[in-house]
Symmetry: C2
Subunit: 326 residues, 2 copies
């Protein structure tokens, strides 16, 4: 550290105010407007940098939030990280990013590191419940842990409902819901629930196949074969739990000689775009990623957390992307 760096005392002298006034300004405590301007002008002139570290120790506040994600190599998580980082920065907080890479050893290391390091709170999208201190604010994305841990998610149930309604509107008569994902319960399970509700209510014949991560995707192909006769398949509308699955399903169907969207129509879920901003991979239910990030940050930093809802579901929307007839 430079020995000639200006101190708070130097700023007070330059501004012609008491040391306590300088301290108040740097710690965000209200002082008269003219004092605040004097202090900020002096600090700027001297090149004084607030030492966030020491400020954190004094105020018991670190202005640091830990964000735990399975990874940022998947485009949905990447977009989430991007928007969380921006939303935190706009509220003068910094983001410690922990990626678990879905590896148990990394998940463990990540939990250990969060506990070792003082942070003001955690925003996490995790597949396994984390052991965290009760007094550490925690906001969960996509997975409900407990009533006192607010969960922010897309309105997955409505998304499933919208997908079923859209397929029917586009002329489909026999539907199927396909899913592969974590074995742990999560908000995303509701995608299938909303879809099935529409089918049941409207007496539509449908199938639902749910696989767990690690299970063989070829089971979907066998299912398709069992529904084929003379090169045609008797299902004409698929709702897939993610865009990635929709993309894989589309390839499987084409290998079987089935045309998308002429013979069958497919709707995915997520709203992933090629290269992070180009065209959609498929017709899909778009998640409001930016809104999820901003809501999570607002909830975490909100002083009135005790009255926070336990689950906040944000609206999703259908977008055509080439795998439906509109």
């Amino acid at each position: 550290m430079k020995t000639n760096a200006p101190t708070m005392k130097d700023v007070a002298r330059e501004a012609g105010v008491a040391l306590g006034t300088v301290s108040k300004v740097f710690n965000g405590i209200t002082v008269g407007e003219s004092y605040r301007i004097k202090v900020e002008t002096a600090a700027q002139k001297l090149g004084y940098q607030v030492n966030q570290y020491a400020r954190g120790l004094r105020a018991s506040k670190t202005y640091t939030v830990a964000v735990i994600l399975p990874g940022v190599d998947h485009p949905f998580f990447a977009a989430l990280a991007q928007h969380l980082c921006t939303a935190l920065a706009q509220r003068d907080h910094r983001m410690l990013l922990y990626v678990t890479a879905s590896r148990p050893d990394m998940e463990q290391l990540c939990v250990k590191m969060v506990r070792q390091n003082r942070v003001d709170g955690i925003i996490g999208l995790t597949y396994n419940p984390l052991q965290i201190d009760d007094d550490l604010p925690f906001v969960s994305i996509d997975r409900s842990f407990a009533a006192d841990v607010p969960c922010v998610a897309s309105d997955n149930y409505s998304g499933g409902r919208i997908a079923a309604e859209k397929l029917l509107e586009l002329g489909c008569q026999r539907l199927a819901f396909l899913r592969i994902g974590s074995a742990n319960p999560s908000e995303t399970d509701k995608r299938g629930d909303g879809f099935e509700m529409v089918c049941r209510t409207r007496n539509i014949h449908y199938d639902a196949i749910r696989l767990k991560d690690g299970e063989d995707l070829a089971q979907f192909k066998e299912f398709f074969r069992s529904h084929m006769k003379g090169g045609k398949i008797d299902i004409d509308g698929f709702f897939c739990s993610t865009d990635l699955l929709a993309w894989r399903i589309q390839q499987m169907l084409q290998e079987l000689g089935i045309r998308v969207p002429e013979d069958v129509q497919i709707i995915g879920f997520d709203g992933i775009r090629r290269f992070g901003g180009e065209s959609l991979y498929c017709s899909t239910i778009v998640q409001p990623v930016q809104k999820i990030a901003e809501t999570s940050v607002d909830l975490l930093l909100d002083k009135d957390r005790a009255n926070a809802p336990s689950l906040i579901c944000l609206p999703v929307a259908y977008a055509p992307g080439g795998t439906t007839r509109e």
Copy 2:
């Protein structure tokens, strides 16, 4: 903070060692093996958590590294963030992520935040030079700033060379290099240099078109039209500066009725995979992203930084991805 949390004194009492010994262990200073085990066993038994924050103040070390990226919504930056985070965690460091989102106001905010917060160093991939303290270790990715700031990059020049050689090996006779990117000089400029060197050396007729971010991509389409006669184009091999550009060029060519890879072959640069891990978008020169991340972390945390090279280029490799005849 809990008042009943165990202190270093409690650990010393439990371990039956002096307080100084406990302090040494927690600060990574060498003590006898038996002492270290005693302290660690006692700390574990009492559930003692090292307060990284206070440890940072004492040791003038924060075990925190700031990573500055244009964004993590682009898949290359997302993969980089993922591998940097993992490499830092494996060396017991945490990652503060700053995304500039290529927005000037965010870039400014990000620089301000890094200066306000004590970190042990910065790893940055930035389009504009940052104002940083001379005494703060800095490793730059893809962009050389100064001799005392080590830069880590792919071997972009060799990548361009490999692309040209591969197109020629696959039968191409007339080549073109297409590029769009930042107006600021960067290591990635060498992609075109390596490509042109091969063309010149082997007397191959070639064109090179370089656009700056913001310029109209339609200029490429006009270039194609100017090279077309009777529905055919007289260029049969394209090297594009990124996979994203290769993907866009492929679409433009197909709109003009030109078949890829039958009529023309295309090689991109990056090695982007769909959904972060599926198939490649195009035949491409693959960047060693994980190696770039690990090398950057090693360089930043290396105590012998004074002897670090100013530029480290890591080997790239060709991978076929459907836009070439092999």
